[in-house]
Symmetry: C2
Subunit: 240 residues, 2 copies
Amino acid sequence: MRLVLEYDGARYHGFQRQAGRATIEEELLAGMERILQQKVKISYAGRTDAGVHARWQVINFHTTRDIDPHRFRWALNCVLPQDIVVKRAEIVALDFDARKNAREREYRYYILNRAYPSAFNQRCLLVTRTLDIEGMKEACGYLEGTHEFNSFCKLEEEGTDTVRNLYQCECRKEEDFVILIFRANSFLRHMVRSMVGTIMEVGLGKMAPTGVREILESRDRRRAGATAEARGLFLWDVRY
Amino acid sequence: MRLVLEYDGARYHGFQRQAGRATIEEELLAGMERILQQKVKISYAGRTDAGVHARWQVINFHTTRDIDPHRFRWALNCVLPQDIVVKRAEIVALDFDARKNAREREYRYYILNRAYPSAFNQRCLLVTRTLDIEGMKEACGYLEGTHEFNSFCKLEEEGTDTVRNLYQCECRKEEDFVILIFRANSFLRHMVRSMVGTIMEVGLGKMAPTGVREILESRDRRRAGATAEARGLFLWDVRY
């Protein structure tokens, strides 16, 4: 069966199960096993880090139980905590794999750019200085395309294949929000948040937009901006 | 000085101060007195009940301190809990009174009408059965205008003047939300939520739209629907 999930990651140490820590996977498996009365294993499209949210996370699992997907969604939403929700449940081919079959992932980063925070939405980064949107757009343009993304990933990833195809890297202004949109076949660890941190330096006038191109070409992680806080990041969509 | 506030009411026993209970007023006064280093009294436009939110609550107070409104907003947002935010601060005429001078108040009630809840938004009522929007719109039409609203208020209000002018009573569908909009010069206690509870009965097919007109004409509180949960209600706007 395939499930589409939405979750607020604030209370969790990321999606992936870790001993002794609250994770999305832990809550999900506990709920599923309570309903199915059998152990299950899941495969998931996007590994979200601690504090990262998902608007559209896709997972799949195999079960020998004959259960109606709509009833399963209903039951699971009754037992899950209110910050994790099942949006869809459907029967899929037995060889479907939520991670391996994903053709494209989209992440979005929300920046609230105004003088005061929001009482209703903590899932964004508050920046009170006016951001240079045009500079940020230019910086995004340099990141788009197929590159070695060594400068924009966790140091431990060095040595592995760091070539990724960033189909879209866009900066959009919507009311008081500045939204950064990233679409790629797949992402390196911390790749989105280190790109966000670097684009933010441009927005704050600490770096010229062309600086982003230089960092990309340097293939040196130490030159990129700080990894942006998790609170503004969403796994937005997964396409198959 | 006049302040415009936004707050998530979920954690509070309403706006008005009550001994031994967390209230918006309590938090606000504590923050203001910490910054001003003097006791203050406030007047506020809308008394929101326990669990009710505000997108636009207006308050005013007098102080002998010479303080810049922008700095005051900034400082107050630093000391307030994250579910209470000051959106605006401005110097106003000494005789301005946020409650007495308010010409019009607008409340909105948010119903999420789909098969599953939201992980991101608990400030709405989830209704999984499909609502009859046309019936709800018809019911709203009967409530609009100047009436004695005895049927739609707390019983303890009986005997007081219950005539109110409901300038607008509208039911709107926006994506998965059904939004009820109420504008009036002022409202009786529990008036919005008892109207919502009654309109919901129409939406769920438990009452004919014309039933709302009959309840209004009966001037009998016991005939109206149950008071709707506070979680979906917002003080949306105040006009002067």
